[in-house]
Amino acid sequence: MSIVHTTGLGSYFIAPMIGIIVGGAIGAGAVIGLVSSQTSVPPNVDAPYVVYGNS
């Protein structure tokens, strides 16, 4: 059973276009998000020792 139907010349454009639009949107969103989320990881605790990580 098919779940996607396209006909004629349109099929050659629709499929790549879906890929480009969705992929592009997600990629752009990720890059923008990346920039804004740089501060989301808690900074290391200020200490005279090397702190292994933040739990």
């Binding site: 098919s2 499929a15 997600i26 990720a30 990346l34 989320s37 090397v50 292994y52 933040n54």
Partner: protein, 548 residues
């Protein structure tokens, strides 16, 4: 055949993209990952030291291979092999175009990203071994299973995860009982190199703590974080993209896709598929338990041997690679149902692109977090000055981790124990930041604990070092840590450099070598023979002999 090579090439390209600067000549030093130019085969690498065998037998294997290959080459091989084997192994479980998705998801996922930054290369190798174990087990090629399990057992957790899949697979597959017993024992034996030293250290296990539990990576909480295969305890090993709302959405979408693939996967792999799913669900449950019921989880880790699951997110390994395989099969099934031949490939391409596009910061060594550097020449000079001998060395400042400026201030385990040709006493107390407070997590090395308490009391190393078998002290400059002046009172300067200084404490009056070394070596040789015999049987004419 042609398709298989293309998939292998794709896995290779993707792995190179992930590792990026870590593949340059030099050493990628991050958290627990330390490779050195020439690691020596010392008693502690076999588990005969005073600490729990947490990195046994990986260090012994690296030391042996170091005889023929330099450390930096070994590191590149280990990292590349882990990722390529994971991607290609996942693809082997998938028929059709979904294999491209399986390769992508097996290499490009939060579990791989976080363990790579944390430096758990041997766990990643174990993760990569799982699909190969399942493929070989479903074909009842037991010698192959033993060889893969041995590779997974480079690290205790890896060996355990491989064994809990492989041993039930042997027992539940048809075959003669005698052969099933023999192969189960052979798989179990691959874990003896770490299990025997661990049994010798029973009672010295460090106390349970909830700081290593699975950690939510955003406001969506622990469950969605675990479903998305992230959640490592160390917030600094988490990529920034994991804090985006797209992260849990992609995690849920991939798991939904994986559900479509289950029936086809089960039809092909039968009972072995059921075992893999069961182990994955159990691992997921335990990892989640560490987040939602930390007190109960800590109680579990306090059971002897329970310390193995202390770092709970590790247990997502079987699920992470199973999801990659199932999602590959799932998207293949969806693509089959699409009538339009032009849309189906686009669906595959989209499913390949989305995991990469939504976690782009995994590229190029997790955006430079895993990158190669060169050790300053001081390290080589100190190694030559100390040489090999009876007395041990101590590494100062007395702190477990270093933040060398030549390593971009990345946190890394003190490399000195793996750099010198003598056993090195080093601090093993972990300092973990939590809500702005530093929480010390006690180590399990009884000798280090004793040295640490005497140093804390202000005693000089010259006063107690030689009687504890410690002859030299190596002091690292320009790194964070407690002041070492009091510890080095009266010590004779042997050599001073910009990065390191070497001190002589006195002629050692005791030796530290474990008396258990003989038994451990015998067990290791026997296990090596079992693995070697299995490797020979891999090429045995494929008749139904030996139950394979």
């Amino acid at each position: 055949m042609y398709r298989r090579w293309l998939l292998l090439a794709y896995a290779f390209v993707l792995s190179v993209l992930v590792l990026g600067p870590a593949l340059r000549p030099g050493y990628a030093l991050t958290y627990d990952m330390v490779f050195t130019p020439h690691e020596s085969l010392l008693p502690w690498t076999l588990g005969a030291g005073s600490a729990l065998p947490r990195s046994v037998p990986q260090d012994a294997v690296v030391a042996i291979l170091n005889i023929i290959l330099p450390g930096w080459v070994l590191q590149k091989i280990a990292l590349l092999a882990a990722l390529v084997l994971a991607g290609f192994g996942a693809a082997r479980c998938v028929r059709g175009p979904g294999a491209w998705v399986a390769v992508t998801l097996a290499i490009w996922n939060p579990f791989v990203a976080e363990r790579l930054v944390q430096g758990h290369w041997s766990l990643l190798i174990a993760y990569a071994c799982l699909p190969w174990i399942v493929c070989a087990a479903s074909a009842r090629r037991w010698p192959v299973v033993v060889v893969w399990c041995a590779l997974a057992a480079l690290t205790p957790t890896g060996g355990l995860l491989a064994a809990v899949i492989a041993i039930p697979a042997v027992l539940l597959q048809p075959g003669r009982r005698l052969f099933k017993a023999v192969w189960s024992l052979a798989i179990f034996a691959t874990n003896l190199p770490w299990l025997v030293p661990a049994l010798m250290h029973i009672g010295s296990e460090s106390g349970g703590t909830d700081v290593f539990g699975l950690r939510a990576e955003g406001p969506w909480g622990s469950v969605l974080t675990a479903v998305g295969l992230g959640g490592i305890w160390n917030g600094e090993a988490v990529l920034p993209s994991r804090a985006l709302w797209i992260a849990p959405i992609v995690g849920v979408a991939v798991c939904t896709l994986a559900a479509f693939g289950w029936s086809a996967f089960f039809r092909r792999f039968g009972r072995v598929a059921g075992i893999w799913l069961t182990v994955s669900v159990l691992g997921f449950g335990l990892a989640l338990l560490s987040a939602i019921a930390p007190t109960l989880f800590v109680a579990i880790t306090e059971i002897p041997g329970g310390g193995l699951v202390r770092d709970a997110q590790k247990l997502l390994a079987p699920l992470a690679i199973l999801v990659a395989v199932l999602a590959g099969i799932g998207i293949g099934r969806v693509a089959e149902k699409v009538a339009d031949r032009a849309v189906a490939p686009s669906l595959i391409v989209l499913t390949v692109v989305i995991p990469i596009a939504t976690m782009p910061d995994l590229a190029f060594g997790a955006s430079g977090r895993v990158s190669s550097v060169a050790y300053p020449s001081d390290f080589e000079t100190v190694r030559e000055q100390v040489g090999a001998g009876v007395g041990d060395a101590i590494s100062l400042p007395w702190a477990a981790f270093r933040n060398f400026d030549w390593n971009g201030h990345r946190t890394v385990l003190d490399p000195m124990p793996r750099f010198l040709a003598r056993s090195v006493v080093a601090d093993d107390t972990l300092l973990v930041g939590r809500d702005g407070i530093i929480q010390p997590v006690g180590g399990d090395d009884s000798r280090a604990a004793l040295v640490g308490s005497r140093l804390a009391a202000g005693e000089a190393l010259t006063a107690f070092g030689p009687e504890m078998g410690i002859e030299y002290a190596v002091l690292a400059h320009n790194v964070a840590g407690p002041d070492s002046q009091a510890a080095l009172r009266g010590a004779q300067v042997v050599w001073e450099g910009e990065e390191l200084s070497l001190y002589w404490l006195g002629e050692p009056t005791a030796t530290s070598s474990g008396s258990d070394l003989g038994l451990i070596v015998v067990v290791d040789i026997l296990v090596a023979l079992v693995v070697l015999a299995s490797a020979v049987l891999v090429y045995f004419p494929r008749k139904r002999r030996f139950g394979c």
